[in-house]
């Protein structure tokens, strides 16, 4: 392991340009690229431009959080990807309704 250096380490923001490629996404999620392809096939993630080969896929930055959440639900709750897709849809619906109620109360 590299030792502590006195000079601060510099990195860059992975999502800097508003999108990530499939390699970065799979590394951020610590899963194999195949797993990301499955999320796309299930409609959980959307690719930015329709590219024929997965290697050229890009995802908008917001999908990093979504992919991580989906993978956590899949692993921790032992549900399949169709179940994950449904859970995400319901969670979004709940979020939207909570926002609506909050907006109504604070008006």
């Amino acid at each position: 392991m590299p030792s502590i250096k006195s000079q601060p380490l510099s990195g860059h923001i992975v999502e800097e340009f508003g999108y990530v490629n499939i390699e970065d996404l799979s590394r951020l999620c610590a899963v194999d690229r195949r797993h990301i392809v499955e999320l796309v096939e299930e409609g959980i993630l959307e690719i930015r431009d329709a590219e024929p080969t997965a290697a050229a896929w890009h995802f908008s930055s917001e999908h990093v959080r979504r992919a991580k959440l989906a993978l956590r639900l899949e692993r921790d709750l032992e549900i399949n990807l169709a179940g994950v897709a449904l859970a995400l849809q319901l969670m979004e619906e709940l979020e939207r309704m909570r926002g609506e109620i909050h907006g109504r109360l604070s008006r």
Binding site: L9, G11, H12, E78
Partner: protein
């Protein structure tokens, strides 16, 4: 170290079947999963649950744990006997709940590296690259507003000389890129695990979150500031000093403003690409009526204005 009663954590009997254990796990996991749960201690409960499940669902680990557990109760001081696990072979990582989270010292002392290592993806490009490391840090908002170096202490899993999983603190100074948003990641190249062979080390990915700020509330790239104004400033309009991340500015309050009026200061939010905006939300502050003069002022207003704030309520 305290002994943990994994059966109690999962709410199952000591002779529970594998099916019962699985059912108990799934039920509790849905209840306490931090992504879906509203329970206040969800994260801690879920971590404990994942650990208990990891042990009880694996027959070898459960057998070893049972053998050990005969003499202990939950919370009792516990010290694993030397070589207690000889003769049990743990079949690799489980990939169950919390597969990449920290296990308790109790768990690590029992199952160590064999139980705790998570499944990690091999980078698709370089098969012989070292593993990536992942960490999450809580930064002050100023770190993204101004950029600058921060000293971060990360918990890194490692293997000690006896082959057990331990977590070590690693302190490093990191230049925080200006304009980074919550949920985004800083990549520190080659700061991950060294490669097993001659390949490159993995990278370290640091996920950023922000601590609550005294003035600003963060919503993605935008900031929200609640600005108190006097009733006459809102009613008649005024130019008032307001703080912004780049220093105080004179803000024009339009006449006829009310509590909740939102004023947008373009590009005064988080300096990302594109930059966020700063929303100033007005809050009407009432002057206290605590002496004769102020009381007289309120009375003058009451008699001058035929004002009923409750007309909308039908009373």
């Amino acid at each position: 170290m305290e002994f943990k009663d994994y059966y109690k954590v999962m709410g199952v009997a000591r002779d529970a079947t594998e099916t019962q254990i699985k059912q108990a796990y799934r039920k509790l996991a849905r209840k306490f999963h931090p992504d879906v749960s509203k329970e206040k201690d969800a994260e801690a409960r879920f971590k404990e649950l994942g650990e208990a499940y990891e042990v009880l669902k694996t027959p070898e680990k459960r057998a070893a744990y049972d053998q050990l557990g005969q003499n202990y109760r939950a919370g009792e001081n516990f010290r694993p006997p030397p070589d207690w696990d000889a003769g049990f072979e743990f079949s690799g990582p489980g990939g169950g709940a919390g597969a990449d989270s920290d296990y308790s010292d109790f768990f690590a002392s029992l199952f160590g590296a064999a139980g705790g290592r998570s499944r990690r993806a091999q980078g698709p490009a370089g098969a012989d690259r070292g593993e990536d490391h992942h960490a999450k840090v809580l930064l002050d908002l100023e770190a993204t507003l101004q950029g600058g170096a921060r000293t971060l202490t990360l918990r890194v899993p490692g293997i000690d000389s006896t082959g057990h999983l331990v977590s070590k603190d690693r302190t490093l100074s990191v230049q925080i890129p200006k304009g980074i948003l919550a949920g985004q990641h800083i990549r520190l190249a080659k700061q991950g695990e060294p490669a097993p062979g001659s390949g490159e080390p993995g990278d370290l990915f640091i996920e950023v979150e922000f601590q609550p700020h005294a003035l600003y509330r963060v919503d993605a790239r935008d900031l929200y500031l609640t600005l108190p104004v006097a009733p006459w400033e809102a009613a008649l309009g005024a130019t008032v000093k307001t703080p912004t991340p780049l220093g105080p500015v004179d803000l024009k309050i339009p006449p006829g403003s009310h509590a909740g009026t939102k004023l947008r200061l373009k590009t005064r939010g988080i300096p990302a690409t594109p930059p966020g905006d700063l929303y100033v939300v007005l809050d009407i502050a009432l002057p206290p009526a605590d002496d004769e003069r102020s009381k007289a002022a309120y009375q003058a207003m009451a008699s001058a204005l035929a004002f009923n704030p409750r007309t909308g309520l039908g009373v």
